[in-house]
Every structure is written in structure tokens, then in C-alpha cells.
Symmetry: C2
Subunit: 281 residues, 2 copies
Amino acid sequence: MSKWIYLNNQFLPEEKACLHVSDLSIQRGYGIFDFFKIIDNKPAFLEDHLNRFYQSAKQMQLPVLKKREELVSIIYTLVEKNDLSHSGIRITLTGGYSSDNYTLAEPNLILSQHLFPFTTKEIFEKGIKLITYTHQRQLPQVKSIDYAMAIWLQSLIKEKGADDVLYHTNEVITECPRANFFIVTKDGKLITPVNNILKGITRMKVLELAAGNHKVEEQPITIDYIKNAREAFITSSTKRVLPVWQIDDCIIGEKGINPVSSHLYKQLLNLEKNHLLQIAE
Amino acid sequence: MSKWIYLNNQFLPEEKACLHVSDLSIQRGYGIFDFFKIIDNKPAFLEDHLNRFYQSAKQMQLPVLKKREELVSIIYTLVEKNDLSHSGIRITLTGGYSSDNYTLAEPNLILSQHLFPFTTKEIFEKGIKLITYTHQRQLPQVKSIDYAMAIWLQSLIKEKGADDVLYHTNEVITECPRANFFIVTKDGKLITPVNNILKGITRMKVLELAAGNHKVEEQPITIDYIKNAREAFITSSTKRVLPVWQIDDCIIGEKGINPVSSHLYKQLLNLEKNHLLQIAE
């Protein structure tokens, strides 16, 4: 974790950033967050992430007591103080110190910075294996702190020799706990679920990048349908575009042959690079 | 909240009981708890609550690093230090300080004591109004800290002039966020849901108490079926037995005429009283 953490109105040394046990995240699992990359000490797609952060807060009835420009200023100060050139910043907003352990109070705001492995060429080429599991995240459009199922499934994922889990309801795919899911069909169409998911920022970028070269469809995908996919991949800020070569017992396409995800990965890296160049030093 | 809170290995003044922000309750909503009444400085049905606490911990892969007799000793010390004669104790176990904000770590154990309104004769006679809402708690058999939906629904409950929410899936009733649900049919049968619920300690006591006088069935109840009920009530440690006189727009039976719940409430009070008498001073 970072050397400095911002908590409410102060920058604190990492070890001093604590919440009282009456906070509704601890009492009732109530809170939201967002997470974005820091590359060369610059925040990637910050505007998009802040848009989503404010939306999540609003949907969860949590007032953000900092204006957007204040939050941006706090982020840049944190980046300067921590000097973790390649990392991620997490903004968390909790239900606050509740007098009865139930009623929402003034939210606690935490900004912390973390070293995080991003997908590199080597990780991309290795790809990942997913298992499927029946689960629907509650309030899926909100980036809430509710990852209880995801954490609980870690031991099963490990036991199955997999890297992550793909949620579905009645065989209809939604998302991974921290990533969106895409397939490329045999006729080169790109398909990704659209209902009951968190709409990732990287998902949005990939859809925009793909639009020029592919027929793109946002629609439900069944587990059975995936079996005929030529490629499958997941997207997230840190994972960027990451090929999936196996889901449960089913091998997707041919391992190592993924021209579409490979091209999208390169396009995304370029987009990131150009975006970061536009941010003033 | 209590004057003293037990956190891991120490009794701390209330204001000093804090968790570092890396705890998985704050990061990922991961934790369990249990809650039991303190009456005349004695814990009510402690053995049952400890049984469930250890079961929840096991199901959530959280080791309880205290043996049962140590936990009991901590509870009695806390009761003595706080001297809150009529109150509740909450034992919370969280996912711990995770180095990567995702992997389970050594759990943090918190015991706090709270003043809490118990159902009295006046509250019983007033009864409550519920609204129904489509939701299924994840890992329902575990008393987890996941109350995000319940907290989020507070504003809707208030707007509708109701007291609490009754969850259902496809019109099949499960439970309230912090209470179990029962109906009494026109022919005097007691019915309560059995699947996809948290099995409350008070629910268990009520089922035992009712067995002598009523035909009792644990089975699914549809919203439509409730409309013909003669009585409806909810049960929990603090609510004991609490009549429900309205669900959405539907009035249940005749308000104020609830011989079955009234009798069960009295039986439960007696059971509590006798149970507490058996605990040595």
C-alpha cells in the first residue's frame, strides 16, 4: 500500500489510516469505490473514473462532500507524495460512522495508492482460465465494495486451477468480479453482455476501439454459446485486454491464436499512451 | 455504543476501536457477525448464538482464533466493564488486513455492546408494516455483514411509510433483513419459509414453543398466499415476536386480533426468563 493515504481531510502515513468500527462498511458492508491506473505518475482516464465514482455514490445515496476539482487536486497531491510511478489509486466512500449501526451517516472518504500488476505482453500471451458460477451481484450498476462472493470463491478457483470466476444466472453470462467479458464469434463479431453488469471504463474503450473494425453487439451470451467462440477475453483497468483460453472444461478457439484481442490490446495501449501524453506534466 | 470495545486481544475505550483501511470488510465487504441480548447483565441464549457464530465463520473460511471458552470469558468481562444491563453484544469477525486488498488474511475480532430497543408490550400492540422487494441475500445461511440492500432500501421503506422490508424471489417470500417471517393460516397452522434464509435463533425457539399447540410447517410462502393469512409476524433477538398488520397494500387479518402471536410472545418471554434464571450470577 501507499506511504500516504488520504482520509477525510488529511494525508496520513499509511499505518495511521483507520476507520472506527462503527463505520457502515465494517458493520454492514456498505460503501462504493473506484480504481484507476497511475502511469508515469499520471492518472489514466481519470475523468471517466470520476464520472463513475460520482454516479455510484449517487445511486448508493452517499453524498461526496468534495467537489470534483478538489478530488482531482487531492489525487495529484497523493501521486506526488507517494511517487509510485506505475500503480493504482482507489477512492473509497463508505456509509460512515452510524450511531445505530444501520442508518447512513456522513461518508468516510479514503484515497489509497497501490502497486498493482498490469497486463504485459507476457501475461497477455499466457492468458487465463475461468470457472463459471451462479451469482448475480446486487445493484450491479454500482461499483460497490460488495465482493463477498468473489473472495469466498477464491479457494474454489484455486482448487480448480483457474485464475478467476465468470458469473452467470441461468446460464446467461454477466461478468467477472473485477472485469467485463467479451467473445469473438467465428464470423468475427464482438459480443459482450450488457444487462446486470458493471460497465467498465476499459469495456467502454474497447467497444469504441472495436467499432471501426468489427460488428459489435452488446447482448446476452449463454455459456453454451461461448463454446463456439473463436476468442474470449476480459477487460479491466489493470488487466487491460486479457485472453481467456479455457472456461470450465471448454477450450476456447486455439490457444495463442487471438488476432482480435491481440489487436485490441495494442490499440488500447496506444490509446492509453496518447491519452497520457495529453495530460500536462 | 459501549464504553469498552474488545478488539483482537485488548479491551479499548470505545473511541479507540479502529480498523486499518486495508481490512477486507472496508475493502470488500467481507465479514460475519452475531448478536445476542444482554438482560440483567446476562447473555440470552449465548450457546445458540456462539454455535451460529462459529458456523458462519467456518462457512466464510474465517478462522476464529479464540476458543469458545475464551470468547465466553471475554463476553462476561465486557458485560462487567460496560454494565449496560439491557443491551446487545455484537461479535464481528472480518476478512483481516489483506496485503493485496483481496486475499483473506488473519481475521479481526471485535466485540461491542449496544443499547437496543427490545420489543415491549407497547411495541407489540402497535405492530409493523412491511413492503416487499425482490432480493436474495448471497450465502443466505451465513450471518454475514452484507446488508447493502437493506441499508439502501431504508429511504424507500420510509417513503412508503413502512417499518421494514420483506424479501422475495419470484413472489416466494424468504425473510426480512434482520428477522424471520411467519404466518398463521385461517385454520391455525403456523408456516415459515425454510429455504434461502438465515435461520434465526428466535425462529428456532418459536418453532419449538409452537410445536405443542399448532401444526407447524417450514415451507415456501408466496406473496399471494399471505393475503389469506389470519396473522403474520416476524421474529428476531431484539424484536422477539412482532405482529405484521400490513404488507404492501394488503391488510393481514384484523389489526389487534392476534391470539397466536400474542401467546407465542408471552411464551418466548417466559422461556427467556427461565433461561436467564438458570445462568449463575
